[in-house]
Amino acid sequence: MEATKTLDCKGLNCPMPVVKTKKALSEMKPGEILKMEATDRGSKSDITAFANRTGNELLEVKEEGGTFIFFLKKK
């Protein structure tokens, strides 16, 4: 998937992936796509909840060798 911006949250733990994702999205335009990578084992649930609550759409989540890759569409 083509992303407008990529954010590396690997090695960071809760709450930082959510906080940094929020900050990155706030610097983007509606419809743009953020690719975020995280290793926090809670991040799959956390980013899903974050997306549900904020209205930013979680387009895709995949896991590659312990890294979660999220694609979020800015509201």
């Binding site: 090695g11 960071l12 733990n13 809760c14 709450p15 930082m16 959510v18 906080v19 994702t21 929020k22 900050k23 956390d46 909840a49 974050f50 997306a51 549900n52 609550r53 904020t54 209205g55 930013n56 509201k75």
Partner: protein, 166 residues
């Protein structure tokens, strides 16, 4: 009603937290919940009272400590009775151990997390009677922290979806 749609935006969810403890381990939960909620577009107010004021005291917040005494959950490099925690230096040792663990998982420091919360528009209130009691001045507090009493907090908390006492 869909979560996160425009109808919900009109009235934001709210979380009200009272932070009453000033130890390193008890400073993290309010700040982690507040920063996460702030990132999730929740309106947050933290009311710092009693020892909790240390979390936003510039003279203290970088050096909060954790006490091993009466804290059997504290990990120990070697098994030992909890009463050992009363010995001189044990609090410093426990604190340094915990700071090591915090660093290992790349957690932000307390000052960093306080700043993160303020950047996310978390409202921080320092309890005025506590300041009177301890002689802490407004200049000692992190910029952005406001001074108020219980009524100001309650005014926000009465309309909150989540209220926590930590």
């Amino acid at each position: 009603m869909e979560r996160g749609d425009t109808t919900m935006e009109e009235k934001k969810k709210r979380m009200a937290i009272i932070a009453s403890k000033g130890t390193l381990d008890m400073a993290y939960p309010p700040l982690i919940l507040a920063s996460t909620a702030g990132a999730m577009d929740v309106e947050v107010t933290i009311f710092f009272t009693l020892y909790g004021v240390d979390i936003v005291n510039k003279k203290k917040y970088a050096s909060l400590q954790v006490a091993p005494i009466a804290n059997p959950a504290m990990p120990s490099p070697i098994p030992m009775p909890n009463i050992i925690g009363m010995l001189p230096g044990m609090t410093a040792m426990g604190t340094s151990m915990m700071k090591g663990m915090i660093k290992k998982i790349n957690w932000p420091t307390i000052p960093e997390l306080v700043k993160t919360c303020l950047d996310l528009d978390v409202k921080m209130i320092a309890c005025t009677p506590t300041l009177e009691m301890t002689g802490v001045k407004k200049e000692d507090l992190v910029d952005g922290v406001i001074l108020a009493g219980a009524a100001e907090f309650l005014d926000f908390a009465l309309d909150a979806n989540i209220s926590l006492f930590i």
